[in-house]
């Protein structure tokens, strides 16, 4: 069964088309990445899955049903813009939000306690939200999104503002939830996260779908056409325009896109000849980052 099915969904704001006849299918139990540049329509699309916004055209089905009150209770939402009631106590906010999703008070209390302990916020349960640091508030926000054990969890930029430690914790929780059968839809700019986690992706640009499918399959379709090289010393070997189509520098590391048919061994030979010291030389499928940029620039052209 599809967790989410969008058919011909459109949303207009005044004269701007935010989402343009979008068809989207998210299978149950998958980890789905919704990608796109700023203003592409990701947040609008996610909001329509939550009935925060109502489409101007098209239909939205969640777990086979048109979106309704009951279905809202099955979905959890972590929006991009975070916020809670600043002057309420943490436990009270969590109880209230869970009650809105149909969780009884006693049960909500129990689960809240478990989550707070897990995320190292146990002593903050009775404090007012405003007394917590931003990072802690984000953790509470996450708990609020999952306390009612949703079947579908929608996360809009979940990693923004998180330090590496907390990002790791979040990632682990997300994978664990996926293992328990929860469907997760993730919208983010952080391609590395997507690459490591997502089964399926959908790339949106200016309200329309540009790319969709199983991540592994997409990458495979490009083949191994990128070299990841870590080196020090002379970088002249990278100027082989006959073999190298483009390069992306990351300080000590460079990703080089090979021209079709180019032999990576040639480049290695040249590098050694130049006198560069090679510490990593890896032939890989193109990083999602590159695919993203390529597709978006092509769509713009």
């Amino acid at each position: 069964m599809d967790a989410v099915l969008l058919e011909g969904v459109s949303k207009y704001y005044n004269s701007v088309t935010a989402v343009n006849h979008l068809d989207l299918r998210v299978g149950e139990g998958s980890l789905y990445g919704l990608l796109g540049p700023n203003g592409a329509g990701k947040t609008t699309t996610l909001r329509m899955m939550m009935r925060v916004l109502v489409p101007d055209q098209g239909t939205v089905h969640i777990f086979g049903e048109p979106i309704c009150d009951r279905v809202q209770d099955l979905t959890g939402y972590l929006p991009e813009e975070r916020g809670l009631y600043p002057r309420m106590k943490v436990r009270e906010v969590l109880r209230f939000l869970a009650a809105l999703k149909g969780v009884a008070e006693g049960e909500a209390n129990r689960r809240a306690r478990q989550w707070l302990e897990r995320l190292e916020l146990a002593e903050w349960g009775e404090k007012k939200v405003i007394d917590l640091s931003k990072g802690m508030q984000q953790k509470v926000q996450f708990i609020a999104a999952v306390l009612h054990q949703p079947r579908l969890l929608i996360l809009d930029e979940p990693f923004s503002g998180l330090d590496p430690l907390n990002a790791q914790v979040l990632k682990d929780i997300m994978l664990e939830m996926r293992q328990h059968g929860t469907t997760l839809i993730l919208s983010t700019h952080r391609m590395e996260q997507v690459e490591m986690m997502c089964d399926f992706i959908c790339l949106i640009h200016q309200g329309s779908k540009v790319l969709e499918g199983e991540l592994a399959a997409i990458k495979r379709s490009y083949g191994k056409n990128t070299l990841r090289i870590q080196y020090s010393g002379n970088g002249d070997f990278l100027n082989l325009s006959a073999l190298i189509e483009s390069t992306n520098h990351y300080g000590a590391m460079v990703e080089a896109r090979l021209r079709p048919g180019a032999d990576p061994q040639e480049i290695l030979k040249r590098a050694v000849e130049c006198g560069a010291r090679i510490t990593r030389f890896e032939l890989i499928e193109p990083p999602l980052n590159d695919i993203f940029i390529e597709k978006v620039s092509k769509a713009d052209a």
Binding site: D69, Q72, Y77, E81, Y85, R87
Partner: protein, 424 residues
Amino acid sequence: MRKLWLVAKREYLVRVRTRAFLISTVSLPLITLAILFLSLALARSPQDHPLKIALLDDAGELAGSVAKRLSGKLPDGRPAFDVTRTINQPGQPAKARDELRAELRRGQLDAYLVIPHDVLQGKAGEFYAKDPGDGAVTAPLRRALTEAVVARRLEQSGVHVDDLPKLLRSVDLTLVRVTGQGEAEEKGQTYLLAMALATVLYVTLLTYGIATMRSILEEKATRIVEILVASIRPSQLLAGKIVGVAGVGLTQFLIWVLTAAALGAYGSAITKAVQPQARPVQFHLPLSLLGYLVVFFLGGYLLYAALYAAVGAVVSSEEDAQQMQWPVTFLVILAFVPFGTILHDPNSPAAIVLSLIPFFTPILMFLRIALEPPPFWQIALSIGLLALAIFGLIRFAGKVYRVGVLMYGKRPSLIEIFRWMKYS
């Protein structure tokens, strides 16, 4: 429905458990009691010793008559007035006055009365004292002087009267208010009470209307509205909010009504305790009036809450809110403008028409009821119109809320707001 109730409960508890609520609820009865006690305490303490008074008689042979009639007694049995001296037609009136004034200043006298020589023709007597305004003293003096002068006038006309005081006793007037329904004895505090209650109504309407607006604004500013709207329909969210805040207002009113009822029952006992001599203050608050107060608070709140909610839904910042709430607040204040007209004639055509306009009904119709209950059909009509207006405005507010609550940033123009209405 259940979710609406959850939101209402949260809005209610979050306000009722604050210190601010406690303070504002307690302050009204407290201030009323304070004013009561203050006025009692500051009232002149009654006479506790005989007033040493001198009589300067320029008219001749009246002083004795006056002195005879100053026969009142203090609660402990001593005479109220002690006429220490009588100066009959002094050759040097100015010098006599100076003497008396000096004695007064030295404390040998409490007061002196000058009876002018033409008092029989209507010239006023003169009362000199450090505190000449004390009615408890001037009333018996006035009465004594009047009786003495009238007795003399009668004698001069050839009429001899035995019991002049009994004949001259003034007649009291009982004030009875005749209404369409019946008659009720006028207690004299109606104006004050009506004004006071109308003001209470006005203040609470503004307070709770703005509270509704603030609640919406807070949810927008903190962005929590995003997850709220993902869990509950916007219309239910708005309705729950309005119900919750209304509950807070009603709770406060209930506490005040109970306090007023208690004061009504025990008011006289309290005043007796503070000032045994003073006349007990009467609190006359008919139950029906209090009932109407609650009805018009609810109606007025719902009406204005809808408007304030629309403002809250449209703006994104506190500054914008301050600006945009003015038209609504102004509407409430406008209800005060016809106060004078209505106080003067609660049943004039102008008063009737004004009190039927839904925006003015809560305050003006209530005022009319407090002063002089209008025919029931007028009250029913006003409530009916109010209900219709509430219905329309809440629908309007709901539409504006649905769209506006997720729009952060630039304040939308009126045209845009109209477009939002079409969206929903």
